[in-house]
Amino acid sequence: MEAPVATGVSARTRVARGPGPWLLTAAAVLAGMVVAVPILSVLLSLANPVHAVWAHLWRTQMVELLGNTLALMLGVGLGSLGLGVALAWLVVFFEFPGRRGFEWALVLPLALPAYVIGFVFLGIFEFAGPLQTALRQVAGPELRLPDLRSGWGVVVVMTLVLYPYVYTLARAAFLEQSPEAFESARSLGRSRARAFWDVSLPLARPAVVAGTTLACMEALADYGTVATFSYRTLTEAIYRVWHGMFDRLAATQLAVVLLGLSACLILLERSSRGRARFTQGRRPTHAPARMRLAGGRALAAAGGCAAVWILAFGLPVGQLLVWAVTVLRRDGLPRGFLPALGNSLGLAAMAAGLTLGVALVLAYALRLRPSRSVAALVRGASLGYALPGAVIAVGVLLPLSTLDHALAAAAERILGLDAGLLLTGTAGALLYAYLVRFLAVSLQAVEATLARIPRSFDEIARSLGAGAGRTLRAVHVPLIRRGLLAALLLVFVDVMKEMPATLLLRPLSLDTLAIAVYQRTAESLWEEAAVPALALVLAGLVPVVLLLRTTGGSNRPGLPAILPGGDPIP
């Protein structure tokens, strides 16, 4: 190697210190924009209170809206907590017929968007539906089942598809615990049940709380299900005020309330971790000894798992298939299905690409310059997954339309032509909302893969004469290719299923699969909704299968890396 001349040395000086300033600046600006813009614009709306609408809302509906929203969140939270922990406990600590199958099958309901299982249940259980009709024939025309279109109906159907958050995280946590902890408790005189209650469950607490928080966030953000069930919540009210009363400011101020509730959830989750440490620092050496159940108890365990699985997955998917086949036999592909499919795929692909790009910039800035401020920015930018789609939608739209009107006015003044609105109501606004909502998903996948490349690889590459560019090309990209693919897929599927932001922001002519499901179910056209819904369920199965592959069906705990933020329900 020749010694470079003095100028060469100083020109390269910056390289040695890390990334060029442009990367860090870009990262900071991107990270700030992603989350700060929608949140700030929602908060800023408080500056001009719209007294008339607000007062009206407060007088007439606010108590109901808040009460319903809180009831939904609590109900789904408690339901998912109970169901998820109980199922995880069964499959980890006991052996019974079919256990291995249930272990992974019980994750499958995660693939169903809540609004899909919601309308399927309405179709099955409604007065004119097959179940009640059959029951009336048996028990006489007077028979009435309680109406599913109610608070508890929403809670039940949402719990059925949201419990897998708790189940997956709790199961992984139970498996990761070293069996010695449980065994020590036994040797100290605890029964199996007490040992679980006193040791295993407290050790799994952070995972259980995280899973429950995710379920609550989903419940809080849901629009499709509550709309189908005519259950009035904050998200539903935002949409109604926005589209029904065309009062965007009032809708935004409703979003402030929703934002406050999300913030409470995040804080609760953070504070629940407390100061205790829950990891034991090393992988368990052997699998926990499962207690073999026999006779009636084995039957009860298997029956319980089977019942949950049938209700949450078998029944709804089966019904969807029946409806879809009926419709396809009768009319062929529903009108508008192919364009909607195309739109969904196109939007999802663009959003996944955009999100991945931003995630890469952020993850790289963090890897090359792991300073506290960069880390804080990146963490902040991934908070978007906790924001309900409706909040993001209104938070994106207000600044965009302001900008748009300013642009239009400027165009008219300067060029003397009517340019119309350029940004509002275009796919651009929608893509931005998706970026805010799903950046965390992508970022987590990218970071997890990057973290698996030891820093010594970078250093070896550089000591062998490779600069930052060649290191990225020849070492990093080949190693993270699969992780990047996973990041793309996860966001892709999430975007396909997203409903509230899409409904609020889409250009009027743009129909997607989720919109198609929404429109058909709004008119109770269950069979017509089945084909697009089934397409969404198929798409939703992709990340679930990915999750199962990383978790492994067996005793390998694996990281539920795609869970937080990998939300299937908008």
């Binding site: 010694a3 000086t13 390289v15 690889f457 250093e459 070896i460 550089r462 000591s463 062998l464 070492v475």
Partner: protein
């Protein structure tokens, strides 16, 4: 001219203070230097400063007469021409062995590159494994690939960070010899970091002992062992007992006899003299005033602990062929080839 010169090198980390503190040393062409010290002594940081993975806060690094760090100059690692072998080898898992070795040969012609890869792999005794992947090799083979990869571009200097700590004990000795042979065969200049004194002695021409970021002493292994410059070196390199003694006109008067006076000791001064376990011999004697108070079986030898009349204790290594019981009374003979004395005010 020295191949590598470190001049008053200093590196601080937030919250830790100085990891490397005013360190100066030089390495001659073809020399193998070991940096030895307990964990956290700054030896790995020194290595990373030389490689260019860290930037010094003060001082300079001069490599083949060219300043690569210090005074505002920072030559990035890719332009230093320094090969590195990490503790975990850091072989690229997505590249074959051949491609790993060829990684640093980007500027070579294709045919020349292939020739060089074969040549270096032959050198480390791994001819014919080019097509294999790192995970298909054993730990020892992986290490040789890592060394081949570092050697391939014919760097001015090879740095090895705890190169043998990932190997099993029985493989470690063999690899140590092997790597030493390869380094000597290529005439490479090498700096390696270790916390294992035996490793440093077996492989290095000279050993630098680091303590809390400071260089305590640089010397050939024999000298380091027998003429430690500081009490820390005496204790860290091999086992040592210290006996309180007094300097007189006639020599150093100790419980084990009067020893030759050392330069720098003036009469009337209290000193601690260093006693190595192999300096002490004893024979059982019913009237002996020294008592065996402990015994440890080391395989080929026994390590005895003896209590002297004053109550001070020293260790003695004896062949395992004869056995002396704990409690035996003995007479002690000290055969100090090199007398090392530390004045009491120095260290503690």
């Amino acid at each position: 001219m020295s191949l590598l010169r470190l001049e008053h090198l200093t590196k601080r980390f937030d919250g830790v203070g100085a990891a490397v503190d005013d360190l100066s040393l030089s390495v001659e062409p073809g020399e193998i230097l070991a940096l030895l010290g307990p964990s956290g002594c700054g030896k790995t940081t020194t290595l990373r400063l030389i490689a260019g993975f860290e930037t010094p806060d003060a001082g300079a690094i001069v490599l083949r007469g060219r300043r690569v760090a210090g005074n505002g100059t920072v030559v990035p690692p890719e332009s230093r021409g320094v090969g590195v072998v990490f503790q975990d080898y850091a072989l690229f898992p997505h590249l074959s062995v051949g491609d790993n070795v060829a990684f640093g040969l980007a500027r070579y012609e294709r045919a020349e590159r292939a020739r060089r890869v074969r040549e270096v792999l032959e050198l480390v005794g791994l001819g014919g494994v080019e097509r294999r992947f790192p995970h298909e090799l054993s730990g020892g083979q992986q290490q040789r690939v890592a060394l081949a990869r570092a050697l391939a571009p014919a760097p001015a200097l090879i740095l090895l960070d705890e190169p043998f700590s990932n190997l099993d004990a029985d493989l470690r000795a063999a690899m140590r010899e092997e790597i030493g042979k390869i380094l000597r065969a290529t005439g490479a200049t090498a700096v390696f970091v270790t916390h294992d004194q035996e490793e440093a002695f077996a492989l290095a021409d000279r050993v630098g002992v680091l303590n809390a970021g400071r260089l305590e002493q640089v010397a050939p292994p024999y000298e380091l062992y027998h003429r430690p410059g500081t009490r820390f070196v005496a204790e860290f390199v091999g086992a040592a007992d210290f006996l309180r003694s007094m300097v007189t006109e006639d020599g150093i008067v100790s419980e084990l006899g009067t020893l030759a006076r050392q330069p720098g000791c003036s009469p009337g001064q209290a000193v601690d003299i260093m006693i190595r376990p192999d300096d002490i011999d004893f024979i059982p004697h019913p009237d002996g005033d020294v008592v065996v108070i402990g015994r440890q079986f080391l395989g080929a030898e026994h390590l005895y602990r003896l209590r002297l009349t004053s109550g001070a204790s020293v260790h003695s290594v004896q062949p395992a062929t004869t056995l002396y019981p704990v409690g035996a009374r003995v007479r002690v003979v000290a055969n100090l080839l090199h007398v090392v004395a530390f004045p009491l005010d120095e260290g503690g």
